[in-house]
Symmetry: D2
Subunit: 171 residues, 4 copies
């Protein structure tokens, strides 16, 4: 899927008018939504749709979230959400995320350079840091009971583990 | 429950910072949310929790919505949502709604005058009109099939019908 | 910019988890947000960023909105928002919009066929209709006073007018 | 305003349908919105409207947020947001928050027992813990520059400081 050390998934979005507030910037709770979009698209880039996981009875709710707000995003800004697997086990996972302001044209040129149309992977996040965050999650089944991913979905378990391992070897 | 002609239910809310946008006013889609809160509380004031209806397998999605935006609500404004049943049948219902800017102290004095703590009923909406709206709905069962309310929940059917009838006799 | 009669602008988006509700479908107010995204991108495709208009002191708030909900969108669905200018004058504009479920791969093939990467124009909306809507707007200046677009921004006035005229000649 | 050690401000709200997601619970980002409502109402209970602060050119954006999700809130649940000042200085402030599920009738009886209609203060949060959170903020002026609150608004500075001091003496 990607070279070693290239562990950050990138996903672009554009700031919606609805996400602004009367300070003229993005209302802070929306960054949490972007982080989720980043996680969803990172998993999709691994070949798994989160929608399908839920259809199979696997859910990944948050147990903790932490965000540091560095700079405010503004309406119509082009933002790229970078996501990687920071900690990983059979029951729990922690994602590390960064939302950065990146000119879409710059980002498209990076994608082209890699011969990729979408969803490239990076060794390091690029652009002006807006928000960094960490979210911790637990795998649950339909009865909201913790569930081992290696049993429930061995394929995704292996994919996420390899992604985490690459990050570790990169340190 | 109330005197004849007193067919508008009133429910207060305060504008949330999250609901503003960079024009410094409430982003327009949020009014649609307020209209729903008004409908939910009107039904609750009749003695029925919409939550219980869904638990019993009755759903009331929208088929149409129409809104006229008259004046902009601003952060921290005190707003009262007025709701009444405008059209009514076994399968379908149309609510008429008005969101108005009303000083909460004025509204509380009106409630006190009527000896009511909450959820008073009015013959006419009060305050400065912000948005007027109409929403059309259809009753559905768990299989998303249209369902007659008079069969599925005769009690609520009778309550809503009496509310509509009072409105008609008031014309 | 495009052939005669080709008056519908198309913009793809994917349903966010945040936009769903406990009925398992998109909460209705979010469609209103999508219609705005469609309008913004249609204007951008004409060469004008709405962000720049606001920076110049031109605002385009809604005066009326109407929506008909035909089918529910679901999480992760691929949706295309179609937008066209339905009525047009110096002070006011009405947009007609349709949100349709369209496989992104199908939409990308249509774009490729037209040699366009993004934001194609269509003679007819494609895909399964979810929501159709109309929104009316008035141009305002910084003092929230109605402002003639032909004076305030003759270039955009001409672009929107030509778009409307093509729609009319297509009837 | 209140007895020593009674440092938690309480504010009730009801879960909106719009805040749910397809898991049937409140979408996680909305808790961050509730924490803000709690902070706003705590400041209002001290006698200061945050709206007026912004009108005077004082802003209090977030620099960090942390949340632990313990139990999921559901549609129509009655929730009380507890807020207190955890750290305090001239430039920065940290609020500690808890969203708890509390029957509104229980909460109203507590308020009555204290002879208060609204916005009571508590020595300890009550009810079933849903989410606990911490938010850090910095005071900014109109130019987005850090601003000392003791200079910009000595009255609010004294009020917040006394609230923090009571919390400390309670330890």
């Amino acid at each position: 899927m990607q070279d070693e050390n290239v562990t950050w998934h990138a996903w672009p979005l554009r700031v919606r008018y609805q996400e602004t507030d009367q300070m003229g910037v993005v209302y802070h709770m929306n960054y949490l939504n972007w982080l989720e979009i980043g996680r969803t698209e990172a998993i999709r880039a691994l070949g798994v749709a989160y929608r399908d996981l839920e259809a199979e009875g696997l859910f990944l709710p948050l147990t903790d979230a932490q965000m540091a707000f560095k700079r405010a995003a503004r309406y119509d800004d082009e933002v790229v959400v970078f996501t990687r697997v920071a900690e990983f086990g059979a029951l729990r996972i922690r994602f590390e995320s960064e939302a950065r302001k990146v000119e879409l044209s710059f980002w498209q040129s990076l994608c082209s350079a890699q011969g990729q149309k979408n969803a490239p992977w990076f060794a390091e996040p690029q652009g002006e840091l807006l928000v960094s965050g960490n979210t911790r999650h637990v795998w649950l089944n339909r009865d909201w009971q913790p569930t081992r991913l290696d049993h429930a979905h061995p394929g995704l378990y292996a994919l996420l583990k390899s992604l985490r391992d690459m990050g570790e070897s990169a340190l």
